[in-house]
């Protein structure tokens, strides 16, 4: 060993890097991806807003007025039924991402009564009630400054318990369960890197979630099903679920709905189902299937007759929210962007809750999937239905 190397070795002084280097690198990758998505979404919103401005007002260009009526975008599935076109803008070669429907604002928006913590809002009365302090303290959202939803609340079928992402004993994100009144908070997952996106089974005995398996499959996320009573988790999907799109049980509880792909697909993400008992997954939409390029955050309505997802048609304009019959017919667009697949449908399947795309601070809208009418009801990062007239909002 040269004398200089000996000197340098003395300079190291036995220093070693902090532990868990590989896991920390993966968390850094996840943070980076989230930030890139936010930046891409911001650019997309600006471009989309400019397109809407040009289409609806003509922008800086001269326009010839049309007859004011145009069916909704029909994609490649034949005829479609869209929202009311009574107030639709003049015809343009490439239609706006949504074809119509009114937009109104709930009277409590813009008032000082809106809590700055996660809360419940009654859509009938406007009453807003913060979640119990104990739940808020343990939730992951308190530690995040990206503006992207992190806690991903999910309500049990009986409405008595919340599953959500909190800060685990080791500082990693893990799934917690608590009474809706804040009693009985407990950590139910202990995965080495972390767990997220909890979703309750219809009978309330299992929770599906996305995580990293202990045998270290590092490409994307694995999907697990946790038996709430025993605390045991079974891996259902290995390494192909996109971490940031959420998941859901099918209405009969036999399968999971999730977004598949690793970002390398030539066309885009795929909405897939996979049996809870294990087995091969099935592509429903996206990845070029049924004329859909990208289908992320897909969710089935409570009766399984409708599907909603974020994405784009093959060759179509950028990210929009679609609603379609489960058999692939009557594809149409509605307002709304990201949402939690496990809680975005109202119990009667007539409305969805999602982020409004054109608000500065993350408006939460409720959209009628038939009329396309939307109401701005809250300010936050994400919301789920607790019952037919109540939302839980993550701020």
């Amino acid at each position: 060993m040269s004398d200089v190397r000996t000197i340098l070795k003395r300079g190291i002084g036995g220093a070693t890097p902090p532990p868990d280097g590989f896991e920390r690198m993966l968390r850094r990758r996840d943070r980076k991806r989230r930030n890139q998505r936010i930046a891409a979404a911001a650019v997309g919103i600006v471009v989309f807003a400019a397109a809407v401005w040009i289409v609806t007002t003509g922008g800086p260009f001269d326009r010839t007025a049309g007859d004011g009526r145009e069916p909704a975008s029909s994609g490649t599935t034949g005829s479609s039924i869209g929202p009311s076109v009574t107030d639709a803008p003049a015809v343009e070669p490439r239609p706006a991402p949504w074809a119509g429907g009114s937009v109104t604002t709930a009277p409590w928006i813009g008032t000082s009564a809106i809590p700055d913590v996660d809360h419940i809002v009654d859509l009938n009365t406007g009453a807003m009630t913060p979640l119990p302090e104990a739940i808020i303290r343990s939730s992951l959202g308190k530690t995040d400054e990206t503006g992207v939803a992190q806690t991903h609340y999910a309500i049990s079928p009986d409405g008595a318990q919340l599953a959500y992402v909190g800060t685990g004993e080791d500082g990693t994100p893990q799934i917690f369960v608590a009474g809706i009144d804040g009693v009985g908070i407990r950590q139910v997952t202990y995965h080495p890197v972390g767990a997220e996106w909890p979703a309750w089974s219809p009978e309330g005995t299992k929770i599906a979630y996305a995580g990293v398996a202990e045998d270290r499959t590092f490409c994307c996320r694995d999907l697990f099903v946790l038996d709430v009573a025993t605390g045991e988790s079974s891996r259902i999907v290995e390494g192909e679920a996109l971490a940031y799109e959420g998941l859901q049980f099918t209405p009969d509880g036999s399968s999971l709905v999730y977004t598949g792909g690793d970002g390398r697909a030539p066309v885009g993400a795929e909405m897939r189902t996979v049996p809870v008992a294990g087995g091969q997954s099935t592509i429903l939409f996206g990845g070029g299937h049924r004329g859909i390029g990208h289908a992320g955050g897909g969710s089935l309505s409570p009766d399984g007759s409708l599907v909603t997802f974020m994405g784009h048609e093959v060759g179509g304009p950028g990210a929009a929210r679609f609603v379609v019959n489960a058999d692939g017919t009557e594809l149409r667009t509605v307002r709304g962007r990201n949402s939690n697949p496990a809680g975005l449908w109202s119990p009667d399947g007539s409305r969805i809750v999602a982020l409004q795309p054109d608000t500065r601070h993350g408006g939460i809208i409720v959209v009628d999937v038939v009329s396309g009418d939307a109401v701005l009801v809250a300010e936050g990062r994400e919301a789920i239905w607790l019952d037919g007239h109540t939302l839980l909002v993550e701020v």
Partner: protein, 172 residues
């Protein structure tokens, strides 16, 4: 109605396993080299993490290179040279979990060495660490630094002499 499609195994899984093996082999060495370069454990860890992450993100290409380690070293050095990044690292350091160094007792000598390294021009410091610590040849070090091998040897010669001189001064 619903198309069936089997789930094929992803090429990324095998690549990820290969990268993990690379990571485990290189991480500590890279961290120590960057610690010598920066004199700061937090910055060394941050640079090592970022450089390895960038290699991971491009592993399908980097893994096929003759020297993936060289790619990582070059990336780390370029990151270190980025002034804006240095400002961000220092700002984040306020909240870092890595404890401050204990300079008491036997660690004082290692502090002297890092002080001496910090006095060297960056080019000499980089050449010394790449060749003397990481064991690269002059040719490969030149590729990492973007200079020719003879320039590497020149920086080494001057760096070694300066380092010895500085340590003798420190010992007085």
């Amino acid at each position: 109605m619903i198309e069936s499609e089997s789930v094929s195994s992803l090429p990324g899984v095998a690549e990820a396993a290969a990268f993990e093996e690379f990571f485990l082999a290189e991480h500590e060495r890279l961290f120590q080299a960057l610690y010598l370069l920066t004199g700061d454990r937090y910055e060394a860890d941050d640079l090592a993490q970022e450089a390895l992450l960038r290699a991971y993100e491009r592993w399908d290409r980097v893994g096929a290179m003759d020297s993936p380690a060289g790619y990582v070293y070059r990336t780390a050095l370029n990151l270190h040279r980025s002034r804006l990044r240095a400002l961000l690292v220092r700002a984040r350091r306020v909240f870092a979990a890595i404890p401050d160094e204990d300079l008491s007792g036997g660690v004082a000598t290692s502090h002297d060495v890092r002080w001496a390294l910090s006095q060297l021009p960056r080019g000499q410091r980089e050449a010394l660490i790449l060749v003397e610590w990481l064991g690269l040849g002059s040719e490969e070090a030149g590729r990492v630094l973007g200079i020719d091998a003879s320039s590497v040897r020149g920086r080494l010669h001057r760096g070694r002499a300066s380092l010895r001189e500085l340590l003798e001064v420190r010992d007085e």
